[in-house]
């Protein structure tokens, strides 16, 4: 189905925002201002965005250690999210979570997660609302290629299938689990191919192409809302940078690294498609670019200048206040 101009601009904005944000974080990390390791989402922008444009605020996602892109695609508050990455008092989680534990339940972002694969059952749990209280919602788990080998993920796929829950298992196959390639770590080599074994329809598609992702998401979301159960979507894309910032990537060939930006840039691919089809003009996108640059740098500056948590916060929110 042809997407509206607004939806296209919205999608571009989310993708570009991720790109600009992550490039900025890369610079900040190099400068030493970021308090911990970060894992950049660059190269995978079309995946989070292609999925999230099909979701409402009532729909939920559960995310990974590489979660900045998911937050932005789900329209978390950018400033508060940035503050969280810098562990500031006014961050989404009060600075106690940090980059790998950002959550924003106000927009259905159930949290990044530093335990690989652990977010899959959590997404299944959110989907239980459809069954228990009849709420209309869809729940998405973003899962790396490496994470796809975790028991938690397999069990979740089976449970969602058995209970026919409205879950999308979105596999982000960026070719690597840390330093280990998918050709090595994935028996059979085909993540999507495993879904059939759980009685679930699946897609395997180009994760650098927003439209491929979005179309599959639209179908899967519709099925889920109708009560027809879960789907698996494997999005094949590239991780442009190291596993974490600072990773020298000895395990990747120079050729691979050289061609990535040319051939697998979700933003270039999107631009070409919409401009060629005459759906959006290049200058509209350029305006978005400009706007985002200042938005992001202001968010980062604001975050860096905002206060760290008060030390009294160390022991708050362990339990409900007054209950312990």
């Amino acid at each position: 189905m042809q997407l509206s101009r607004d939806k296209l601009l919205d999608a571009y904005t989310r993708m570009k925002k991720i790109r600009v944000f992550e490039e900025t974080m890369r610079d900040e990390f190099a400068k030493g201002t970021v308090p911990a390791f970060i894992h950049l989402y660059i190269g995978q922008e079309a995946i989070a965005t292609g999925i999230c444009v099909e979701l409402t605020d009532q729909d939920t996602i559960s995310s990974t250690h590489r979660g900045h892109g998911h937050c932005i695609a789900k329209k978390s508050n950018l400033e508060k999210m940035t503050m969280e990455i810098f562990c500031r008092a006014d961050g989404l989680c009060g600075g106690k979570g940090g980059s790998m534990h950002i959550a924003d339940l106000s927009v259905g972002m159930l949290g990044a997660n530093a335990i690989v694969g652990a977010n899959a059952p959590i997404a299944v749990g959110a989907a239980l609302k459809q069954r228990v209280t009849g709420e209309n919602l869809v729940s998405v788990a973003f899962i790396g290629d490496g994470a796809s080998n975790q028991g938690a993920v397999f069990e979740s796929m089976n449970l969602a299938s058995v209970l026919k829950l409205p879950v999308l298992f979105v596999f982000e196959n960026n070719g690597y689990a840390e330093f280990t390639g998918i050709d090595y770590h994935c028996g059979g080599g085909d993540i999507a191919g495993r879904a059939g074994g759980f009685g679930m329809p699946s897609y395997k598609l180009d994760g650098s192409d927003f439209f491929a992702v979005q179309e599959a998401a639209a179908e899967a979301v519709e099925r889920a809302r109708k009560g027809e159960g879960p789907s698996a979507i494997e999005c094949v894309a590239k991780r442009w940078y190291g596993h974490f910032e600072g990773d020298p990537q000895h395990y990747r060939t120079k050729e691979e690294l050289a061609t990535i930006r040319r051939d697998f840039d979700p933003l270039i691919i999107f631009r070409q498609k919409v401009e060629e089809a005459g759906l959006v003009e290049g200058k509209d996108l350029d305006m978005i670019d400009e706007d985002l640059s200042s938005q992001v740098s202001s968010a980062v500056e604001k975050a860096k200048n905002s206060p760290l948590p008060d030390v009294k916060e160390l022991t708050t929110n362990v339990y409900e206040e007054g209950s312990y």
Binding site: C93, P121, L128, V318
Partner: protein, 337 residues
Amino acid sequence: MSIKTYRESIIEAMVLEMRRDEKVFVIGEDISGGRGCGDFDGEAAGGPMGLTQGLWAEFGAKRVIDTPISETAIMGAAAGAALSGLRPIAELMFSDFFGVCFDQIYNQAAKFRFMYGEQGATPLVIRTMIGAGIGAGPQHSQSPYSIFANIPGLKVVTPSNPYDAKGLLISAIRDNDPVMFCEHKALLGMEGEVPDEAYEVPLGKGRIIKEGNDITIVAIGQMVGIAQNCTSRLEEKGISVEIIDPRSLSPFDEEIVYDSVEKTGRLLVVDESNPVCSFGSWITSMVSDEVFSSLKAPTKVLTPPHCPVPAAPNLEATYLPNVDRIVEASDYLVNYS
């Protein structure tokens, strides 16, 4: 008010809370029992120990959810459901199985509130069976509540009788944090007076089972009854024992123990946990710090030895702390000088 078993009390707590709040639901393996086998006719089994009997008949498959044997998915789904505003009761059939799914409990459910801030409230109850004494062997007889209590963000409850089982479970279901609710398998058939209506036994409030002056015995779960069985033998020896059942380990009612030890000057903890880093050692450690000056004798912890639970019935009987050992230790402490 009527006589009910520990098992019946647990079921009743769930039934009352499920009637009260449609967000409460139960999820686990075989909890309806045979639900997935098509056209069975009889009563659904309600779990291998009958602890969810009748729930499926009243609330149906939407809120009494049978699962595959996938504890990680069960606990994770329950955690995710709680984070999203439902109030799950997840069953971990035997607490011994925590090792296959503990990440979802200790790194996820227990940390959501801290990691994510207030939005991370996680009203989750995990009902699980603990304890030795019925010949279930090394992988079905453990009492890992010391491990659970070690985890910030978790609450841990260990009812020792039917009245507490019902009241504590109702409190746990209404609580807004994850609670490990440890049911002792050897107590399932225990009977007691239990009101028919809903009532709460608050988490974090211990109970003095028996007052006394010479020694404080803190006993956990199944050990409460065993400690009570020592009373007459101790009294014969002229020892007046005060017995405390903490009822919940996390939060823990430190004050009730401190007050008692300030009175008696002596502390013995009877605990079914593995000894090293046991909950008993935590209690004595706090007492040795906080009310040291009241102590007239060493503090002591009775636990099983540092070994797994053996299958052989005679070894299992030796494994558990018993009346003889409690009497002997009390005697030692009271006569210490």
